[in-house]
Subunit: 353 residues, 2 copies
């Protein structure tokens, strides 16, 4: 199955798919300077927490690989500036800082060991590629665990884009669907367009279509209608943050899909890596909801659709754990009570780590 690649390390530089132009145009940029990678992250050429982490790591590696420093000391002096430039792009992206920190640790380790200059450059490129490979492995593990929960035949609904475009792997929610199909399930996907940003219409519909997965695009207000008609057999969505009790913050609209799923006895699954678990908060009540610009509601793709009136734009909502049938991560499937199951999965020391 064809999987969209939002980012790749190539001999020519870091190649990114420009997600802002999808689905109208499929344009790849090749970056040979870390400042270009930073600008691409900031300008949302790439989006989705895991994919941003990969981009940040590759940006740091590119900065080191293409540095004009002639000695290790010169590179040591330049390195913090590279990291700072990458860090100042998306201030709320946790994966961005995690990736920069990991690249910094690796740099300091090699630098402290007085690794030969060329070997150090190669090792940092390898570290960035390793981060990318780990994201892919995480998605694939989520996909394998989740696929077992999918119906043998039927229609699955998702929301927003928890796909390859967001993770640089096979996707979390969409990874579950992909693996299930590869394993022989006969699935088609209901894709709500996901206003205001239209990630469903622009990204998920494009990604599934490219991958040959059958889909039906709907508007966000058709969800209940199709569930009532018995046409939805399961829902699987991604997660931005999962509290210790299982309450899950995700793209606006997820909560009401969960309520509608419960009303129609449709199982509702959340798929997210352990890195989205936030066990320091006991419930979703403590997750702040980002309020974004009202202009994103009154305009669509730059076209004004409403008069100049007040509009609300909460970017996320919180789905209470009681509406979630299971949470799928790369270490297994958590079921209620989540306070226990999530803690158990989070504490597993993985053989690969």
């Amino acid at each position: 199955m064809n999987v969209a690649q939002p980012i790749e390390w190539t001999g020519k530089g870091v190649v990114m798919l420009d997600q802002r132009r999808l689905p109208g145009e499929v344009i790849h940029h090749t970056y040979t300077d870390y400042r270009e990678v930073a600008a691409a992250i900031k300008d949302m050429v790439i989006r989705g927490a895991p994919a941003i982490g990969v981009a940040a790591a590759m940006g740091v590696a590119l900065g080191v690989e293409r540095s004009s420093a002639r000695t290790l000391d010169e590179l040591r002096a330049e390195f913090p500036g590279i990291c700072r430039t990458i860090a100042q792009t998306r201030p709320t992206a946790v994966d961005l800082f995690w990736a920069i920190e990991r690249m910094t640790r690796r740099f300091e380790q090699l630098s402290a060991a007085n690794t030969p200059f060329d070997a150090l450059r190669r090792a940092l490129v390898e570290e960035a590629r390793a981060i990318h490979a780990e994201k892919r492995a995480t998605d694939e593990a989520i996909g394998r665990f989740g696929a077992k929960l999918m119906p043998a035949t039927g229609q699955v609904m998702t929301q927003c884009n928890a796909g390859a475009l967001a993770t640089a792997g096979i996707g979390t929610a969409l990874g579950v669907i992909r693996v299930a199909i590869e394993e022989g399930h006969k699935l088609s996907v209901f894709v709500p367009e996901t206003r205001p940003y239209l990630q469903g219409a622009r990204l998920t519909a494009w990604e599934l279509h490219e991958g040959g997965v059958p889909l039906t695009l709907i508007t966000d207000n058709m969800v209940g209608h199709f569930m009532k008609q018995g046409k939805v057999d399961a829902v699987v969505v991604g997660a931005d943050r999962i509290a210790a009790n299982g309450d899950t913050a995700n793209k606006i609209g997820t909560y009401q899909i969960a309520v509608l799923a419960r009303e129609h006895s449709v199982p509702f699954y959340v798929a997210g890596p352990v890195s989205t678990f936030d066990l320091t908060i006991s419930s979703g009540e403590q997750i702040p909801i980002e309020e974004r610009s009202a202009e994103e509601v009154t305009h669509i793709r730059g076209v004004r659709i409403a008069p100049d009136v007040p509009a609300a734009h909460p970017a996320f909502d919180v789905t209470p754990a009681r509406l979630i049938s299971a949470i799928i991560c790369e270490r297994g499937v958590a079921r209620a009570p989540y306070t226990e199951s999530l803690r158990r999965l989070a504490s597993i020391v993985m053989a690969i780590s």
Copy 2:
């Protein structure tokens, strides 16, 4: 309170507000030929069942008033063509045929009585204006009954446009809100944008804003989030067709708002004239759902937002009676069991009729 006027009979002709251009441009057309009125109905300059009925009546009156016939016989020969032209505009609009039939009955009555030519022309114009006045009176009666159900202070949600623009009165659902505000209720309105056609964003937001009613525009997937936050005190929507048992067909998205309202213990009201009651069908199961063009989902205001993938576009959905707290019509308020209450209201012979 300023009420938008989608159509008016004036000394200069039939004046219509071009709803296709809202909210960007407020353009009125003055029609002096019945063929122009027919084209305006067909091209959706005006929409909404009651407003289309008024337009049809005025179109017939205009055809008679401006006819070049010199004798009653000549006019008798011309009349069926006028009606046919108006009738061939929106083949599924029940109000259109009702209005043409009523105008035809009046014409035949006057014609049979050999009414003087000028008096007959004046009488048909009066009949069209009477139809318009009756629509206004119906809305106002719905508004008065419904206002009593509105909270003294709070936020009310609606869906689509069941407003003055649709009825040529003060609106049904929006009429309830208007009258409540006039009677001293402190209300603001949550307006879901109502994809795919965006009647909420384009028409309801515009109409309420023009009328000085405070509002917040939201996307259709924010409904559950705001209800969960306790910010919605009541929902009031219009109706396209109400079955004998109270099941109600209305714009797509209405059903899921009703499910969410029940989940959050928010009362859910339907406002519609007795003419929307269809007591010949026992339940909503028998209401066919119009499937419209997928292009209306993949495009917004002419701009492509999705790749070339299959999209579904049911234009309406059916809300089961069990989710409806009350049905408000011009003769009173129906409560469950609706099979009895709707029949009782439908059989009342009104003093004004």
